[in-house]
């Protein structure tokens, strides 16, 4: 049995919905959180630690009967910058896109600065993305930079 067939057995096809592919294995949990799939009522399938020629191991998520707005999906670019999005309609690939880091990040990331007002008062941090390559987020409140290695999700 070749790899392709094994994959198909692990994550079966959906009739209608969205496939999110090329998620780094260690980012799966974050993607689920960011898209709020934990509280999703339709069928959601996950597979992780699949072999990937490009990235070593990857994860894949299939969400049936759901199409996301690009703004919503772009949030996952913070943890899965190379994720590809495949819209399935009637078992066919209807559209294939890639995620893009947005200019602004709201709600999903915590400011790393322990002395920031967002970690003391009932107010959520939001950020301007100052560097999309290295991922640097400038907090609207304390103006400090949260970077990839200090990033925490709420």
């Amino acid at each position: 049995m070749n790899n392709k067939k094994v994959k198909e057995l692990k994550v079966s096809a959906i009739e209608n919905g969205t496939v999110i592919d090329h998620i780094p294995a260690q980012a799966m949990f974050h993607v689920i959180r960011i898209l709020n799939l934990e509280n999703f009522e339709n069928m959601v399938m996950f597979a992780t630690n699949l072999e990937s020629k490009k990235y070593g191991t990857k994860g894949i998520i299939k969400v049936s009967n759901k199409y996301f707005a690009p703004e919503e999906l772009n949030k996952i670019a913070l943890v899965a910058p190379h994720a590809s999005i495949i819209e399935i309609r009637d078992f066919q690939v209807a559209r294939k896109t890639v995620v893009e880091i947005p200019d602004k990040i709201n709600d999903i990331v915590k400011c790393f600065n322990p002395n920031c007002v967002t970690n003391h008062e009932d107010v959520r941090a939001h950020f301007t993305v100052t560097d999309k390559e290295e991922i640097r987020l400038k907090c609207h409140y304390c103006e400090k930079i949260t970077s990839k290695n200090t990033m925490e999700f709420r």
């Binding site: 600065n113 920031c116 967002t118 003391h120 008062e121 409140y141 304390c142 103006e143």
Partner: protein, 302 residues
């Protein structure tokens, strides 16, 4: 500028900043006027900062304003666990303008978003202290006759010094050439240098104070704190290399002036104090006029 909070120096355009400096000149000539008699200024100092508080309160007092507030959080409802949100919403009912100092970074921005009256940030932790920047600009303009095309040397802790960061950003509007003197560990952060680069201005970095003295118009000194060094030996090694003495002044330009946000520790030797090139005490006094200008513009009196 009416009703516009001042949280970061960038909240105001170059033109608005210049308007404040222009009006500050008028207040310097005539600092006692009863033009704020109908106004209440709330002065909320969640951490003590006597110098800044006295400057604001003196500025408001001389214009006849009433001042309410506190000078430290220990005897207030804040100590009893009241949120900043509730404090601001309450105080906004009793005042026309809130001057706030708070050690929490971003607190002033947050306050400006929930308050019905304008907020002046008098320092939010290590983040911003825009009225210091305005008084620095005023002092530079006053001593040099102009803000344009100056050679400005900044010395000391350029990495963590918030007054340095804001001043650099503000001076980027005036075709400044920057001379940055610091230990290697305390160089100006990349994010601040970006502002200089965006305006295509020149900056030069040095580790020796002597190298910049002959070419500078303004020498802006700051304090180097021991806590900033992971290696205490490194601090011991460099701590005396950024100290200005009177015998270093003869080679400087005629218009050369020494500035410092104060308080100083030992980085400017007291021998400098009596030189006509020492400007740091007058610089602090300028804060009163700049704050008078700022408050009256925000309140729409001027």
């Amino acid at each position: 500028m009416k009703h516009k909070s001042l949280v970061s120096i960038n909240d105001y355009t170059k033109e608005e900043q210049l308007r404040i400096l222009e009006l500050a000149q008028e207040f310097e000539k005539n600092p006692v006027q009863r033009i704020m008699e109908d106004y209440v200024v709330a002065s909320l100092f969640f951490e003590p900062s006597t110098r800044t508080r006295l400057s604001f309160e003196s500025a408001a007092n001389r214009l006849g304003a009433k001042i309410v507030g506190f000078s430290e959080a220990s005897n207030t409802s804040v100590k009893k666990g009241e949120s900043l949100r509730d404090t601001i919403l309450t105080v906004a009912n009793y005042s026309d303008l809130i001057v706030m100092r708070n050690p929490i970074e971003g607190s002033a921005r947050f306050a400006s978003e929930i308050s019905s009256v304008p907020i002046i940030n008098a320092g939010d932790g290590a983040n911003q202290h825009p009225t210091q920047t305005l008084l620095d600009l005023y002092s530079i303009q006053k001593t040099q006759g102009s803000l344009d095309n100056l050679e400005v040397a900044l010395v000391g802790d350029l990495k963590y010094g918030r007054t340095v960061h804001s001043l650099v950003i503000a001076l980027c509007n005036f075709n400044t050439t920057f001379h940055l003197v610091s230990p290697v560990e305390l160089k100006l952060p990349r994010a601040v240098k970006m502002h200089i680069k965006e305006k295509n201005l020149a900056y030069h970095q040095y580790t020796e104070l002597e190298d910049v003295l002959p070419k500078s118009d303004v020498l802006y000194m700051t304090r180097i704190q021991k806590e900033r060094f992971s290696d205490p030996l490194e601090y011991e090694r460099i701590k005396n290399s950024y100290i200005l003495h009177a015998d270093m002044l003869p080679d400087t330009k005629e218009n050369f002036r020494v500035m410092h946000p104060l308080p100083r520790v030992n980085e400017i030797h007291t021998s400098v104090d009596k030189s006509p090139k020492a400007y740091y005490f007058e610089q602090a006094l300028n804060g009163v006029f700049v704050r008078q200008a700022l408050m009256t513009l925000i309140l729409g009196i001027k």
